[in-house]
């Protein structure tokens, strides 16, 4: 009885940064995402919650076409970024990803220095005119990621030598260095201890001023703390989408309610 998706007829199209309509994703023979439509606002944090395997990460990876790297994955439906279809055949995923950055579950700094990690994006996209320019971008990004004070004296040390929380903030700095418009975060705190998690959460709260942030999380408390909008996924369906406060206090769908109260998931 839960298989009928809620009709998201009232997806607001105004000031939506990303607009997804009737997205279907197939992994080989598995139907991973079933007819999902959602509007993600600009300069706001949107949280995707739901039990493991519900498709929230898969959907997130559709938003910057990271699923292209998986051969068996097929995406149907439309996803618009500022009104442009990102799955249009003339869209170069390379250009798209420069605008839609991503932070992963496990910190994955490159085996290079802290500086080179952050400078990687600006270098490949040619964002800096000079070495001084690049230095400025690196410093700005590290400051935005609240990491500058901790690493400014060891910019040439390998990024893999930092602590877990620092590594994840380095990855965030790396992602914001290319000046993206949207920042996708796939459970960015799941590999971190509570203190590092708190730091990252503070950071996300600040990033909201400049970026549209989409975060996948397992922790409902986290979603409640940092997001303005929340989407609840279940078995590939988008069950419910709305203001975070409303989702957590007054869910419309019985499935959302059972998840939030800990009966499923």
């Amino acid at each position: 009885m839960y298989d009928t998706p809620l009709t998201e007829a009232d997806v607001s199209t105004e000031d939506a940064k990303i607009l997804a309509r009737n997205v279907q994703v197939h992994y080989g023979t598995t139907h991973a995402i079933k007819d999902v439509s959602v509007a993600i606002g600009d300069k706001a944090v949107t949280a995707f919650i739901g039990p493991s395997g519900c498709g929230k990460s898969t959907f997130l990876r559709c938003l910057n076409r990271m699923n292209d790297t998986i051969d068996a994955c097929r995406v149907r439906g439309t996803i618009l970024l500022d009104g442009d279809d990102i799955y249009h055949r003339r869209v170069d995923p390379v250009q798209l990803r420069a605008r839609v950055g991503m932070v992963f579950q496990k910190p994955n700094p490159f085996p290079k220095s802290v500086y080179d990690n952050v400078a990687y994006g600006p270098r490949i996209h040619g964002l800096a005119n000079s070495r001084a320019d690049l230095d400025r971008i690196v410093e700005k990004s590290l400051r935005r990621a609240a990491l500058w004070e901790e690493v400014k004296d060891r910019l040439s040390a390998p990024g893999t030598g930092l602590s877990g929380g620092q590594q994840q903030r380095l990855c965030i700095a790396r992602a914001v260095a290319t000046e993206p418009e949207v920042l996708l975060m796939d459970e960015p705190c799941s590999a971190l201890d509570p203190i590092a998690t708190a730091q990252i959460e503070d950071l996300i709260y600040e990033l909201r001023d400049r970026f549209s942030v989409v975060i996948v999380t397992h922790s409902m408390q986290q979603a409640a703390r940092i997001s303005q909008k929340t989407a609840f996924f279940h078995l590939g369906h988008l069950v419910e989408f709305g203001e975070t406060g409303q989702i957590f206090t007054n869910p419309q769908d019985p499935r959302t309610e059972s998840y939030i109260t800990g009966r499923i998931g």
């Binding site: 442009d84 249009h88 003339r90 420069a98 605008r99 270098r123 040619g126 964002l127 005119n129």
Partner: protein
């Protein structure tokens, strides 16, 4: 890497790349995509070059070697004259054996002259001496063997199909040209005309030559007679030694290291030794074989036994490595289940782990054997080249102990000889060797497919 930090002409100091148009690639992206295509093209080229080499190599082997399986024969009606072959007329075997091949040569010469006459071919070559270069030196021996086996046929005229000389064969295969004949002593353009005429008359013809596969090596002057059969048997006996030694020893060593070895210095030392032996150049194993088996233990030189021993030591690391991989692939739960039933560790290993790992072990053993079969360098040092393997081994002891060659060693030996006719035989031998290797590898693959188990 490619100077990405270098200043690039961007219109504004802090641009938002591609914000304006997601659907149209900006110039920088187009350049980067072009670099991407170039890089990818390099990858495709690398694969293509590799595969091209493979195709060229296989094509060369087939095109150069296929001719070795066909040989030129001359059909002759030889009159076995009693007055030359059995002067006493009593058909006593010892009397007949007295007639040497020199006695048979004129009979063959006459038969060939008769064939020329009967087919109405006109040629300036009128004497036995002049047409002698057309016949292989082995022809007389062939007729003599027939006569000794069938003394009662003396006096009759018997049809023989004898080997033509290597030059004749070379002419029909395009190896010997009229230009190259001009430089030779005992053959000239008249002979070539005669060959053409005899071929048109059907006296001289190329056909499948089973003796190449079954026969023995021949002296430098008789390439038309040489075969790889004896060397094949040599390889067979060598592989038998390798299999009988390296498989049980390798499996036993792997079982010890994987299941029983305590973690100590000695075990580590054994492991290091095995890893190093796997990387020691094969020629060094040849030195080992020469120094230990031949000079120290006085085993016979050139014997397949020694070759087998040397190659077994060389194959051992390969077999140990693959066997250990197969043993580790068997999940510990199976061992635990057996131990929980009160089986001893030994019983658990021999009753459960080993049978389950067997397909993997056999696959590794076959691949190791294939490696050993194609190996030449160590055989050079223990004397399996440089002589003519002119007899087939008779019996088991002879097969292991009598001097013989091996297929790759025979191929090398032929490749070294001056006569180009031997090159063709070397390539032909390679075809046979590669067929054996392919068969072994395909067996290994099928075995793996058939018994592959995913835990």
């Amino acid at each position: 890497m490619t100077g990405l930090a270098a200043p690039t002409p961007a219109p504004t100091p802090s641009p938002r790349p591609g914000r304006a148009a997601l659907l149209a690639a900006d110039p920088r992206t187009r350049k980067r995509n072009a670099a991407e295509r170039r890089f990818r093209f390099c990858g495709v080229m690398a694969i293509s070059i590799g595969l091209l080499f493979l195709v060229v190599l296989l094509a060369a082997i087939v095109s150069k070697g296929a001719g070795a399986f066909r040989q030129t024969f001359i059909a002759l009606e030889v009159e076995l004259r009693e007055d030359t072959l059995d002067k006493n007329g009593n058909r006593a075997p010892e009397d007949i054996a007295k007639a040497s091949t020199f006695a048979y040569a004129p009979l063959l010469g006459d038969a060939l002259l008769a064939a020329i006459r009967d087919n109405g071919i006109t040629t300036e070559l009128q004497t036995r001496k002049e047409i002698k270069p057309l016949l292989s030196a082995s022809a007389a021996a062939q007729v003599r063997d027939f006569v000794i086996a069938n003394p009662e046929r003396i006096g009759e005229t018997v049809a023989f199909s004898v080997l033509a000389a290597s030059r004749v064969d070379g002419y029909l295969k395009g190896r010997v040209s009229r230009d190259s004949v001009a430089r030779s002593k005992n053959m000239d353009a008249r002979h070539l005309d005669l060959i053409d005429a005899l071929r048109d008359a059907g006296v001289v013809e190329k056909r499948f030559n089973p003796a190449f596969i079954t026969g023995t090596d021949a002296s430098e002057a008789r390439p038309e007679q040489a075969g790889i059969g004896a060397a094949m048997l040599g390889s067979f006996f060598m592989m038998l030694v390798v299999l009988l030694l390296s498989l049980p020893i390798g499996v036993a060593a792997s079982i010890y290291l994987e299941e029983f070895a305590p973690r100590n210095r000695l075990t580590d030392f054994i492991e290091i030794n095995i890893a190093n032996l796997a990387a020691v150049p094969s020629i060094v194993f040849g030195i080992l074989g020469l120094a230990v088996f031949i000079r120290f233990a006085h085993l016979p030189q050139s014997a397949p036994l020694v070759g087998g021993l040397t190659l077994a030591l060389m194959t051992l690391p390969t077999i140990v490595i693959s066997t250990r991989a197969s043993l580790t692939a068997v999940p510990p739960s199976i061992r635990d289940a057996a131990l929980a039933l009160g089986a001893s560790k030994m019983q658990a290993v021999f009753h459960h782990t080993l049978p389950l790992a067997m397909p993997g072990i056999l696959t590794g053993a076959i691949i190791g054997l294939a490696q050993a079969l194609g190996e030449t360098a160590p055989l050079l040092l223990i004397g399996m080249v440089g002589f003519i393997a002119s007899t087939h081994p008779d019996g088991l002891a002879s097969g292991f102990l009598d001097p013989n060659s091996a297929m790759p060693a025979q191929i090398y030996e032929w490749a070294k000889r001056a006569d180009p006719a031997y090159y063709e035989r070397a390539w032909g031998g390679i075809i046979l060797l590669m067929l054996f290797l392919a068969a072994m590898n395909i067996t290994a693959i099928l075995l793996r497919r058939r018994f592959e188990r995913r835990w």
